[in-house]
């Protein structure tokens, strides 16, 4: 990877201005998050089921296991695992690679993440949770989304470089000169 998962996370934390206050509000609500996770999972997969392309991808995998993975991911957004450190970065990178491997592209991931952000926002409003929590969760969701997007880019770079022997600089130059 041209950028390490840890460096990517550091950059994203800075770019989203993910502050100590954001971390605190998430951690303070981790029990609520754990309680909400199964509902969010149901909502998420119901959304994917309505998309024929996504439904076809999902059908190839164990639904229960996917649900468990979603629940674990959702809970980790509240705990930050190791306070949004190396462990969190590595896990997010791995999630990105899994998405690439099973063929879930940016055109699928971005709207799906938007669904999560909207639904969790609605739950926060309905359950009278603080607005700060919605903001912090939105930041974490965007960081996680960036990991998946970056995984796509890096995987494509790596595959082309491996198969053609091109340096990263040459590959990027070809893209730049090829865009008209």
């Amino acid at each position: 990877m041209a950028i390490s998962p840890e460096a990517l996370l550091t950059a994203l934390i800075a770019r989203t201005n993910f502050s100590p206050a954001d971390r605190e509000v998430l951690k303070a609500n981790q029990d609520w998050g754990a309680q909400l996770a199964p509902t969010m999972s149901d909502h998420f997969y119901a959304y994917l089921d309505r998309d024929p392309e996504m439904a076809a991808v999902i059908a190839k995998h164990n639904r229960q296991r996917l649900g468990e993975t979603f629940i674990a991911w959702f809970k980790e957004m509240f705990t930050g695992m190791d306070d949004w450190g190396s462990q969190y970065a590595q896990r997010r990178w791995k999630i990105g690679i899994v998405h690439v491997r099973i063929g879930i592209g940016p055109q699928h991931v971005v709207p799906a993440m938007a669904t999560v952000v909207l639904e969790v926002g609605q739950q926060i409003r309905e359950q009278g949770k603080p607005e700060d929590l919605r903001t912090a969760l939105a930041k974490v969701c965007m960081m996680d989304l960036s990991f998946i997007e970056q995984a796509y880019l890096e995987s494509a770079y790596r595959a082309v470089q491996q198969e053609t022997g091109m340096s990263e600089a040459l590959f990027k130059r070809l893209i730049a000169t090829g865009i008209s």
Binding site: T164, G165, M166, A169, L170, R173, L174, A176, T177, G178
Partner: protein, 122 residues
């Protein structure tokens, strides 16, 4: 550091003194142009990137096919030839020639000019 004026001068001599050679360029393995004398209408940046990419891919294919070190990548079109060769590890030489060129003479001249360019790049 490469003497760009020297590279340009070597290319100039090569193109003007070799019959039916229509243009040439020296580029880095990352696809950056170092010196060029290309026919009108050819984009130097794009040509440089493509030249480096093609030689890189050719060398990769040469290894995969167990063909040993690649001496040149030779593109034969209905309007002429494009030849890519390494100038040491620092640069790639692109030569464009018309259909009428004598291939033996072309390859000999490319070999000579590649050696000159490699020396100038040291």
């Amino acid at each position: 550091m490469a003497n760009l004026a020297a590279l340009q001068s070597i290319l100039q001599g090569f193109v003007s003194s070799t019959p039916d050679v229509q243009g040439a360029a020296v580029v880095t393995p990352d696809g950056l142009p170092l010196a060029s004398l290309l026919p009108p209408g050819m984009d130097e940046e794009r040509t440089s990137a493509m030249s480096a990419a093609m030689l890189s891919l050719g060398e990769r294919i040469g290894r995969e096919f167990a063909r040993g070190n690649v001496e040149r990548i030779f593109v034969q079109g209905e309007k002429g030839y494009g030849v890519l060769t390494s100038c040491g590890s620092e640069a790639v030489l692109l030569t464009l020639a018309s259909h009428e060129v004598k291939q033996g003479l072309l390859f000999l001249e490319i070999k000579r000019v590649s050696e000159k360019l490699a020396s100038a790049l040291v």
